[in-house]
């Protein structure tokens, strides 16, 4: 039966392609939302440990179900719209922000992770091997470029959100967020450019394959540090969480939001943080490269390594949040323009020199 379906799909490429994309998107969407939830849970638990608190304990074992309880609780809340806000735009902005953040799934290799994890059931259900065709993110030749196009939408939406709420704190928060994201975009892109120069590709899968001989962290540690700092800033996390500095401007640009729109905004923020953790794993730690697992688990080894590395960076994000206070906005901007920007330009030049040297030695193509 499988064979007949495959032959039918082969004769009808348009249908086949759309089916593949839909399956891949559904996989990636579920995976990403699930991981954003896990991120929030792990953050609450680990941060609580560093604070010597217990974190969630009562709902489920170790409070695992706490997030679901919170989720249901927030959904039950009233959506409060400020009297002077533009009603339609106020409700539309969280949807835009989350939708744009979720667009990232078409480039990120999450469909690969889900599909290949499911492949371990191949001995039981041979038909499942068809899922190999559902990995579409490898086709994006300019994937890295697309990621940054999507990320650069953020400042505009955040500024608009703050403005539409018609609240002083939101406006201040929105302007701060826009200033911060715009000024960190430049060193961020320059450090990514260094990665692209070293690997010679804009495709995430090719970037990983190029690291087979050596992970980029060993080749370009400075690039890694620059990317880490700017990625944290782009994800709006402490010490660069000025847009929603809760002790200063209440909650910044999302002050006025409540109930499900608030949930969407938080979801979008955590999705971005999770994506940037995955990007760190892919760019510098060889993505899914690692020893193959034995036996029937073999197809799962790639996804497993990728997830281990991603979660490592997730923990790093959480611990950095625990250990550092918040920068002031002017200090942050001066850090970006006077320190990170020159450093990243210098770093790009160094990387080009290294690449030239390695190419002349024949070590790298």
């Amino acid at each position: 039966m499988i064979d007949s379906i495959i032959t039918y799909l082969k004769s009808n490429p348009l249908l086949a392609d759309s089916l593949r994309v839909v399956v891949a998107m559904v996989f990636a969407l579920i995976f990403m939302l699930l991981n954003a939830l896990i991120f929030i849970y792990v953050e609450r638990k680990v941060w609580a440990r560093t604070m010597q608190r217990m974190g969630p304990t009562y709902v489920g074992k170790w409070g695992i179900l706490q997030l679901i309880a919170d989720f249901v609780k927030v959904l039950n809340k009233e959506i409060i719209i400020p009297a002077k806000a533009n009603r339609f735009a106020f409700l539309a902005m969280p949807v835009f922000i989350t939708a744009v953040s979720l667009l990232l799934i078409i480039v990120m290799p999450y469909d690969y992770v889900v599909a290949y994890t499911l492949l371990i059931f191949q001995p039981i259900f041979p038909a499942i091997s068809i899922l190999k065709y559902a990995v579409v993110s490898s086709y994006f030749q300019y994937g890295v470029l697309l990621i940054f196009v999507i990320l650069s939408f953020n400042p505009i939406f955040i500024l608009l959100t703050g403005w539409i709420s018609n609240n002083k704190y939101s406006i201040v928060g929105g302007f701060r967020a826009a200033a911060q994201l715009l000024s960190f975009e430049v060193p961020f892109l320059l450090s990514v450019a260094a990665v692209v120069v070293l690997t010679g590709s804009l495709n995430l899968y090719e970037i990983v394959e190029k690291q087979k001989s050596m992970w980029l962290i060993f080749l370009a540690p400075l690039t890694f540090i620059l990317f880490l700092i700017t990625a944290i800033a782009e994800a709006e996390r402490t010490p660069f969480d000025i847009p929603d500095a809760e002790s200063e401007i209440i909650a910044g640009w999302n002050t006025e939001y409540s109930a499900s729109p608030f949930l969407l905004l938080i979801m979008g923020m955590y999705v971005r943080a999770f994506v940037s953790a995955t990007l760190l794993a892919i760019f510098f730690f060889g993505g899914w490269l690692g020893p193959t697992l034995p036996g029937f688990l073999a197809p799962m080894s790639g996804p497993l390594w990728l997830m281990i590395k991603t979660y490592f960076f997730m923990f790093l994000y959480i611990l950095i949040r625990a250990a550092f206070p918040r920068y002031r906005i002017d200090q942050l901007l001066s850090l970006s323009w006077t320190k990170l920007l020159p450093l990243s330009v210098a770093n790009l030049l160094i990387v080009i020199a290294v690449k030239y040297y390695l190419m002349s030695m024949g070590l790298m193509s």
Binding site: M51, D241, I242, S247, A322, F324, P325, R326, Y327, I329
Partner: protein
């Protein structure tokens, strides 16, 4: 919002209300801040949201009942507030406090100072965005509060001071428990210092923020750690020794510039000095009675009692007309004077620093509004 023409460009001033309900003010106080961009142009301090009329309440109660209300002035440092009143009444009465009573007062006060500075430290780190240290400070404070609970019977509203002594003697085995708790705090104090003094972000948020020179601090009537942070070596425990402080050996830490960093530094050093004092006092405390029977109420007269609070000099002026109730009780709150001087020192700072500066002033709305 007001608009103002400047040469060549138009500057729009924005008025932001910080409080009375705001996540980072230390209680219900209102700061009406006028900002020009990110720079603070003007601040109006509006107080009185939790005015409970404690001064009037004192006029309606007997002398022995009053200290039970006064620890509610600031439940973070209740012992000092009881002590100030008791000291004023003793001055009118010319009452003698037995030696052991004086030493017990020192122990109670210094333990409260540690607890007060610890909770200030937690709140301050939360103000600059370092949320992790917030529960750390509370954790350590809890150990000290346990000691005070053993001594007085309550965790925050002690009711420990009596005219002519203290209410209870030390509980059995107190020095063992105290040593344990103090070591616990001391161990963690090193960790605080490791985390904050090495942290470039913390230093960027505190060093050279809102420096107040010594002359200005004196002019504004500052006292306590705030004055010492500006470099003035003024401490009632040394300058006007009361209780058993003259027999104790301790240093007075002072800052250099009077900026936010110095205020943090001075308070953390004071915790160490207080630990040192408690250790000495527990070792050298004499035996004997800890309270004397005194008159139920003083003869007519005026008395002023001041002690070195964890925030500054807290003072009570008590006027007695020979009846069982005081004629007038006037409370001098150090935090009130510090908070009301914010408009004088804060102009030109950044709005994001307002909360760090306000936090470093250690405001306690209970004693400010009374």
């Amino acid at each position: 919002m007001t608009e103002e023409k400047q040469v060549g460009r138009e500057v729009r001033k924005l008025v932001i209300n910080v409080g009375p309900q705001h996540p980072s003010t230390h209680g219900p106080m209102d700061l009406i801040v006028t900002v020009e961009g990110e720079t603070i142009v003007d601040v109006d301090v509006v107080l009185g949201y939790i005015h409970r009329g404690i001064e009037k309440l004192c006029e309606l109660r007997n002398y022995f009942q009053i200290p039970t209300y006064l620890n509610r002035l600031c439940y973070v440092s209740g012992m000092f507030w009881e002590y100030g009143f008791v000291k004023a009444v003793e001055e009118i009465m010319d009452a003698k406090v037995p030696e052991r009573g004086e030493w017990l007062r020192v122990i109670a006060c210094e333990l409260t100072r540690i607890a007060s500075h610890l909770i200030w430290f937690s709140a301050f780190t939360a103000d600059v965005g370092l949320m992790t240290l917030f529960p750390w400070g509370l954790r350590d404070r809890d150990r000290i509060i346990d000691l005070l609970e053993m001594m007085s019977g309550q965790r925050m509203t002690f009711g420990y001071f009596r005219v002519g002594g203290v209410r209870y003697d030390l509980p059995t085995n107190f020095d063992v428990y105290a040593e344990k708790a103090i070591n616990y705090v001391e161990k963690h104090l090193e960790e605080y210092e490791k985390v904050i003094y090495n942290n470039p972000v913390f230093l960027a948020r505190t060093v050279d923020i809102c420096p107040v020179p010594a002359s200005k601090a004196i002019d504004l009537g500052w006292t306590g750690p705030m004055l010492r942070a500006s470099g003035v070596k003024r401490d009632l425990r040394r300058d006007e020794p009361y209780a058993a402080y003259e027999f104790l050996d301790f240093e007075i830490p002072v800052g250099k510039k009077g900026d936010t960093y110095d205020r943090v530094y001075v308070r953390l050093e004071e915790i160490k000095q207080s630990i040192n004092i408690v250790r000495q006092a527990l070792k050298r405390i004499p035996s004997g009675p800890y309270q004397t029977r005194s008159l139920l109420y003083p003869p007519p007269g005026i008395g002023y009692g001041w002690v070195e609070d964890s925030r500054g000099e807290c003072g009570y002026m008590v006027v007695s007309d020979g009846t069982p109730k005081p004629y007038r009780v006037k409370i001098r709150s150090p935090a009130y004077i510090h908070v009301m001087s914010i408009p004088n020192v804060i102009k030109g700072s950044k709005i994001a620093d307002l909360y760090a500066i306000l936090g470093s002033f250690d405001p306690c709305l209970g004693e400010i509004d009374r």
